[in-house]
Symmetry: C2
Subunit: 327 residues, 2 copies
DNA sequence: CTGAAAGCGCTTACAG
DNA sequence: CTGAAAGCGCTTACAG
């Protein structure tokens, strides 16, 4: 391994001069060329650890994710990764396997590794999060959830919920089951539902019942039959595509035809939803783009630029074949 | 930030003694207790960069992946991550977006960051890979592909192909289309096909035609109709679950009933395959477990323990409803 | 513009 | 068992 001292010796200058050259300081024309040549010949590249030891900061952005095997997470990570590369930062991902303690741990551990900033894909923000973020003193950007005290980037869950509510009303559905998730998750559990509820209130004579399940396909699969029997809805609006997939499977199992006997919608826009039979009507979020935005924002924060506390990523309804027209 | 010097001062000993204590060297009973207490009080934790600067090695295992949004990758990463945590190592993932140059780059860059070892989820091993691995002089474990010169961990693609071939023959299928991928991918493109072909040769009077598509669902979707028309198979054996999903959708679109009009199988065992209608019969691989194995192996390699050049992860046929019984 | 020197926080022979 | 000292590879005032 060649070091800065080697380069200095070979170029006949001082180490400090090489360092200055490397860091864009003022160096004479001649000196510059000599150093350039030597570096080229040796293929020198600085030791990151030595740099970090002095600099107290790296060009690494830590990304904390609750899980690795989710469509939303994967796409968001890709967006972050690609944008960060462009900006000459590296992404370090820390997986917490949906364990809140590990989320806090990760925050500390990333801080210790002197990451320049942290992107947090949280499902929930607790008092401990707030304290930790405060304590580590590193820029943190929340993605997917929002909190007034933390820079946040969210999908427009509320408006998305509203849009799908209006959509269903317009299709003439008067008896709709909304299958959501726990209100602990503000974005998915509360905002989507509220948006939906708002749209329904505007509509006339639409009866809605709200149900709750988990994020797991299997749980939706088990839940849906009882909803069908008890409420006999013409449509089920599901809070995620995975829930919708479970609902679809449940409907098949009961011998129902989609959308003739039952309409189903989701949220997310996972690629797989297009390949189902019938194709699922859903609200698409732009995870990859949001990841890119997040990368931009965190780097701005690292550079101490001013940004808004809240950024919102867009959505779009994708109309496919899983919703029947009743009106 | 408290440093080792602070601890030394507070405990009234030399820095070297503290360092020795930290690294499990021999320290007197009394000294030990003093240092212990001070560290406890200050919440000291060593600076990783300073450690790495000397140590020339970290406790980080780099994992190079071609993409982040694939079922197999996600599950494998989870397996690696969890096992590595147990072993007190950290996982650093480097995404290459299926760019071969970036794969090589990543190898160098990880080496520069002094990772202890590298797990490489490759789709292909080239001469450049070999050179790079040679050059960086860090233990590398190949996962998903095998190469005689590199420690490898593979899924049993050959036997899996054989198993599904026998399975289909036993169900009485005599006219089977095999929809594979490019032979550039030895594991998926060659081994699965060879295994399958071997099984068919054992069987009697089974006609097979081999087709090729990409890993994309959409490409399979486009490819399948022509296969159906040209060959009129009773079954399509697809080299991945995603291809099978595309085939399923194509079949729907042509108004075919599955499995009555056409049987379909995949490889992978993605969770989603259970939720399709009908549920997809497929060969399941154990990605997460394989990830755990990979983590074990690479750590053994890092510790200079002897391991076999090749490890093989198991598979299992999951029989669901997408295959008809003709015999 | 350039160089000598100190220092970042650790580890590791070496001597006692 | 313990400590003083040198060194890992870089950066950063400071002086010239």
């Amino acid at each position: 391994m060649t070091t800065i001292a080697d380069i200095a010796r070979l170029a006949g200058v001082a180490k400090s001069t090489v360092s200055r050259y490397l860091n864009g300081g003022s160096v004479g024309e001649q000196t510059m060329r000599k150093i350039e040549r030597v570096i080229g010949e040796t293929g020198y590249s600085p030791n990151t650890f030595a740099q970090s030891l002095k600099a107290k900061k790296t060009n690494i952005i830590g990304t904390v994710v609750p899980r690795l095997d989710s469509y939303a997470t994967s796409k968001t990570l890709i967006g972050i990764d690609e944008k960060l590369r462009e900006l000459n930062y590296q992404m370090f991902v820390s997986n917490t396997s949906q364990d809140l303690d590990r989320e806090i741990e990760s925050l500390y551990s990333l801080a210790k590794q002197k990451v320049a900033g942290i992107i947090l894909l949280a499902t929930k923000v607790t008092e401990r999060h707030l304290e930790t973020i405060q304590e580590i003193g590193i820029p943190v950007l929340l993605v997917g959830q929002q909190h007034e005290q933390i820079y946040s980037l969210i999908h427009d869950d509320f408006e998305a919920g509203k849009a799908i509510g209006r959509f269903m009303a317009k299709k003439g559905h008067k008896q709709i089951a909304y299958l959501g998730v726990s209100e602990e998750d503000i974005a998915v559990g509360v905002k989507r539902k509220q948006g939906f509820a708002g749209a329904i209130k505007e509509a006339e004579e639409v009866k809605v019942r709200y149900y709750e399940t988990s994020f797991k396909i299997g749980d939706a699969l088990e839940k849906v039959p009882s909803i069908l029997e008890e409420f006999r809805p013409t449509a089920i609006v599901c809070a995620t595509d995975n829930i919708a997939i479970g609902a679809l499977k449940a409907a098949y199992s009961k011998g129902l035809k989609i959308p003739e006997d039952l309409s189903i919608t989701g949220f997310g826009g996972y690629e797989i939803t297009e390949m189902l039979n019938p194709g699922l009507t859903t609200v698409q979020f732009f995870y990859k783009e949001a990841g890119g935005m997040a990368a931009d924002k965190i780097v701005q924060l690292v550079n101490e630029e001013e940004i808004q506390m809240l950024s919102v990523s867009d959505f779009k309804i994708i109309e496919r074949e899983s919703v029947d027209i009743l009106s």
